[in-house]
């Protein structure tokens, strides 16, 4: 017995001793850690790999690894490799690398040019020519989604397997799903963008409360660099009271919204759709769920976005008007249960949403708002697969949907067909929208595109295929030891995490 107790004591002491001691010293030019939800090979890959062109905005890009020129009708592009670009191992970046990246990178498969391009030929070591059968003006922009890789460094599925890039940093150490350690790439070709931070750690912390705890404890310097920033509103509220932390928010140009099933079911009725749009108290959503980190959304895209409506059409909040519309539509509460009926049936909408806290709470408040005008709501908060499965077959009356982003891309994605897609019904409610495909997808006649969108917005606010909720503010949260984080210019792995302006203030 005594022996056992002694063993226990020795074990406890050894564990305590082993775990004591301070963590590594943090020099002034080191970002101690970026606290991330997932591996750096997703959104953080631009630390090691440069994109072929450099994205300026949601529709424009300029030269980076290649300079792109085109003929007058955007059917032929010449891609010129930027002189002096080398990989971190000293290998030259040439036209063959560009061709290999464009043809094989997995993300390239999801881009519009992939199906349109008829040929991509290497002319010489630094020149390529891409040809399209008809006008295709967004090629240069789409190249900003593709990173330049060495020939042979992609798997059959297009994933990067050799982490040697032309980017600002070199990968020194990598434990998948745990940590990536990087140092400045001494062979970095773009001397204009030399960062002051020479070593970086990318730490994966999937659990949000733990990530926050890491930040509060200064085990990480920043969270929220990925996917438009950190948008767990309750946690942001909690962090706003913590001394020594800075929360930097950015209004999202693409408000959250619910899509109506205007093809079948009760929401085919325009009066009902309009009544729902009038009955949602967006200010309350922002105050109660977003803790002031979001603003009410009255438009599908913010006025500051390209191709936003020029005539100021928008939704508004008016419960009385909503009730009036329902009465005009023949909705009555005959049995006095507070739920309206039409044709003898109670109006209960089936709302399908995602299962995260913000989405669940939003659905509950919307249901509460609709109850005030006599509309019942049944909520189904599902994981991504369940949600996609329901929305693809139209098994919903109202469902969470992808917000309007990059109008041209969104148009080509969701405005040219009247059917269900993986995120609801889409915006192709008027068949004539698809007639504008060539003009809009070509992307260069901005006047004609604006004219189309003005017509489109007028119809959309009249038809109400979807209802807006709030415009969420993405957030970076960082300690007082660092500053200068840029906002990303993309979504998902299209993000461009850049650290060239980051400054370490640690003493």
């Amino acid at each position: 017995m005594k022996k056992l107790l002694s063993v226990l004591l020795v074990l406890c002491l050894s564990l305590s001793l082993a775990s004591c001691g301070s963590n590594a010293v943090d020099p002034k030019n080191t970002i101690r850690r970026i606290g991330a939800a997932s591996d750096w090979t997703g959104e953080g890959k631009t630390l090691v790999f440069d994109s072929l062109t450099y994205r300026l905005s949601s529709t424009e890009a300029t030269k980076q690894l290649v300079e792109v020129t085109h003929n007058d009708d955007y059917t032929e592009y010449t891609l010129k490799v930027t002189p002096g670009v080398v990989f971190s191992d000293g290998t030259k970046f040439d036209a063959n690398c560009v061709k290999y990246s464009i043809e094989n990178e997995s993300l390239a498969n999801s881009l519009g040019f992939h199906q349109m391009m008829t040929s991509l030929d290497v002319v010489d070591e630094s020149t390529l020519v891409a040809k399209f059968p008809s006008t295709y003006a967004t090629f240069e922009y789409e190249l900003s989604y593709i990173v330049g890789v060495k020939v042979g460094s992609l798997s059959d599925e297009g994933a990067i397997t050799e982490y040697i890039g032309t980017g600002m940093y070199v990968l020194d150490e990598y434990v998948p799903d745990s940590i990536g350690k990087f140092s400045y790439n001494e062979k970095y070709w773009n001397k204009d963008r030399k960062p002051s931070v020479t070593t970086v750690e990318w730490k994966v912390i999937p659990d949000i409360p733990t990530r926050v705890m890491y930040l509060e404890n200064k085990e990480v310097d920043v969270i929220g660099l990925e996917h438009g920033g950190f948008t767990d509103y309750a946690t942001l509220k909690q962090l706003s009271d913590v001394e020594g932390l800075t929360i930097e928010t950015k209004a999202n140009g693409s408000p959250s919204m619910y899509m109506f099933n205007y093809i079948k079911g009760p929401t085919t009725d325009i009066n009902l759709r309009k009544a729902v749009s009038l009955a949602i108290d967006r200010q309350r959503l922002c105050d109660s769920i977003c803790y002031g980190f979001a603003t009410p959304a009255w438009t599908y895209i913010l006025d500051t976005e390209q191709y936003a409506p020029t005539n100021g059409v928008k939704f508004h909040y008016d419960v009385e008007e909503a009730k009036k519309l329902l009465a005009e539509g023949g909705y009555v509460d005959t049995d006095g249960d507070g739920i309206l009926e039409k044709d003898g049936k109670n109006i209960e909408l089936y709302l399908v949403t995602l299962s995260s806290e913000t989405y669940r709470n939003t659905a509950s408040l919307v249901a509460d708002d609709l109850a005030k005008i006599g509309i019942g709501v049944r909520i189904d908060a599902l994981d991504a697969s369940g949600y996609y499965a329901k929305s693809q077959v139209g098994d919903f009356d109202l469902c969470f949907t992808h917000p309007w982003k990059q109008p041209i891309t969104y148009y080509t994605w969701r405005c040219t067909y009247t059917d269900y897609d993986s995120m609801g019904t889409g915006f192709g409610f008027d068949p004539k929208f698809k007639d504008y495909y060539d003009v809009v997808s070509a992307g260069y006649d901005k006047e004609a595109i604006q004219k189309f969108f003005d017509m489109f917005w007028d119809e959309a606010y009249d038809f109400v295929p979807a209802v807006t909720l709030f415009s969420g503010g993405a957030a970076h949260v960082y300690t007082d030891e660092v500053s200068g984080f840029k906002w990303t210019r993309g979504d998902g792995t299209l993000n461009l995490v850049e650290l060239d302006e980051v400054v370490v203030n640690r003493k």
């Binding site: 997995s106 199906q115 993986s422 792995t493």
Partner: protein, 316 residues
């Protein structure tokens, strides 16, 4: 145990692992969601995804071939010791497994050692001081400990030992040091069951006739404990510890998440979310095999410890 019996059990283990992996794969195959679409959604954030693109990507991945042809492809590769490559990362499945398995196995072993040390010592003390203050306190702590969710305990431990006392590292990338806190959390959580088993086992044995005989023969208390009682209860301890190790290898997902540990469970869950079939098939196959083999080892240990089992096997 005869070599032929062990060989037979290993063959059964492989067949069981194949059956389990196929069942899991088939269930997932018929669940909602197309792998190509889910992967592209993850890559692009869900915007601008055309169905024609999804179809083309499905062709590249080979996920449009149907349930059995896909399984056949995987099976043929597996026979040649190739578990395929992950759709998501492009890295070989075996590589993905081995880098994570080390973490998961270390965590499981450390957790088991801690729960074993606490469970056996506390269980013995509790039995020794039956119905005294110590015993009552231990039982109360056990009941509370069994009711506390491990993720809550993990956060409390993190707050106390990392933030307040700064005794342990927070990050999951510092090798052995990173495993101390999570294994303490899980070891504590798992120790309660062991304390109860050891306590009950000792008490039952103490009142057994053979112990009375031993006492009558003048054997000392410590010798009775070490040579007889402890040996008799060791069977149930071995069984329980084996089960703990097995469930911890793939089942410590929440703890892996909280402590940022790159373990098997966490990766498997992420792969299931995007239906990364090669990873799912490979991981479940290896894990099933591990489970069956660990159970076999547990049986061999029981065989060595208990003459009754040896006798049974001999009679068969």
């Amino acid at each position: 145990m005869k070599a032929a019996t062990i060989l037979k059990r290993i063959i059964v283990a492989i067949l069981t692992a194949l059956f389990v992996s196929f069942t899991a794969y088939a269930l997932l195959y018929f669940s909602p969601g197309d792998p190509a679409e889910l992967l592209l959604m993850e890559m692009t954030g869900g915007s601008g995804l055309q169905m024609s693109v999804v179809k083309e990507y499905a062709e590249i991945l080979g996920t449009n071939k149907g349930l059995l042809p896909m399984y056949k492809n995987w099976f043929v590769k597996m026979i040649h010791m190739d578990l395929g490559t992950s759709y998501r990362t492009g890295r070989p499945v075996w590589y993905e497994f081995k880098i994570r398995f080390a973490t998961s196995l270390s965590l499981a072993v450390m957790t088991s050692v801690i729960s074993l040390v606490i469970g056996v010592s506390m269980g013995m003390l509790s039995a020794k001081y039956k119905n005294k203050f110590f015993d009552k306190l231990t039982r109360m702590i056990c009941a509370i400990n069994m009711s506390i969710p491990s993720f809550w305990l993990a956060i409390v431990f993190m707050w106390v030992f990392v933030i307040k006392l700064r005794l342990a590292p927070m990050s999951g990338d510092m090798g052995f040091r990173s495993l101390i806190l999570p294994s303490c959390v899980m070891g504590l959580t798992g120790s309660s069951g062991l304390i109860r088993i050891v306590r009950i086992g000792i008490l039952e044995n103490l009142s057994a006739e053979y112990v009375v005989t031993l006492r009558a023969k003048g054997l000392s208390e410590s010798a009775r404990f070490r040579k007889h009682i402890l040996r008799n209860i060791s069977l149930s301890i071995v069984t329980m510890v084996t089960q703990n190790v097995v469930s911890l290898i793939g089942g410590s997902i929440i703890i892996e998440n909280i402590f940022g540990l790159p373990g098997v469970g966490n990766y498997l869950i992420r792969s299931i979310q995007v239906k990364d079939f090669p990873v799912i098939l490979g991981f479940i196959f290896i894990m099933s095999l591990t489970v069956v083999i660990l159970n076999l080892i547990s049986e061999l240990v029981s065989y060595a410890l208990d003459p009754r089992i040896r006798m049974e096997v001999y009679e068969k």
